[in-house]
Symmetry: none
């Protein structure tokens, strides 16, 4: 048996992060997309709206950052 | 047999977490996106709206945190 | 046999749970996102709306919790 | 057993980046799609709307760029 | 055992690019779909709307082009 079977290299961590980034990527898009529509509807509530957009962004982004941490935790 | 078969390393736990983070990531985005639109529509109901946004966020985030716990539980 | 075969470890249970958590994560987001819009539209129906939001959340969350149970049931 | 079993080559990093690009790709589309509708609804709030569109775009794009970095970090 | 077990050939880079093209494909569709509706709603804001549609298209398309570059970078 002399042939090369498969030259696939890499670590599953990058796939794990990639999957973990799908949700927050879509989620942040929804937050900011709906957010600018809310601003357009009621510009005088800009303070409250922006504050909650940032809050939602942080909560969603955290899921992807945890994915980076897990990728390194399971690197071995 | 001299060929390199595959140099893929890693743990399936990171893939499991990545999958578990897709749903909450999109879900949190929907909650906060629709939430800021609800605030723009009726700013005087801000207390009730924010309270339920936080509640929904906690319920969705819990699904991803369980994914972290399972990743470590099945690490062996 | 000298080549590295693959250093992938882990249990498919975590992937199963991850897949099972995608749907409820998105679903809870839709329930709470549309729910706060319903509250903004008719705050006086808050009792009925909240009661049904909780009900829908429980039904969706149950799907992910069954995923945890199955992951441990098929661990062997 | 003399045949070549599989001639699959490559690194899992490109798959990881591909997955990480799904979310931001959809997210940026939602931001700009909803954004131009917000502009059409209230052109006089163009400054605020554009500012938040750029902010959301940067937050979403960062998730994909992290995917590139991880692909090279796990290349070995 | 003399038969060929699996005659799968190819490089993972094409899968990586394929995944990277999912998000921008949907995203650009959302931008132009929502964009023409915004133009229909307020044709006099055509300049601003078109300018932001092109901007969002470029940002989303870049994610797929990076996928092509990575496919060649990880070809070896």
């Amino acid at each position: 048996m002399s042939g090369v079977l498969a030259e696939v290299t890499g670590n599953l961590g990058s796939i794990g992060y990639g999957l973990a980034a799908i949700g927050p990527g879509i989620g942040i898009g929804i937050i900011y997309g709906q957010g600018v529509q809310a601003i357009a509807r009621q510009p005088e509530a800009y303070g409250l709206i922006r504050q909650n957009m940032i809050l939602g962004f942080v909560f969603a982004e955290a899921l992807a950052l945890i994915g980076i941490a897990l990728a390194f935790a399971f690197r071995a």
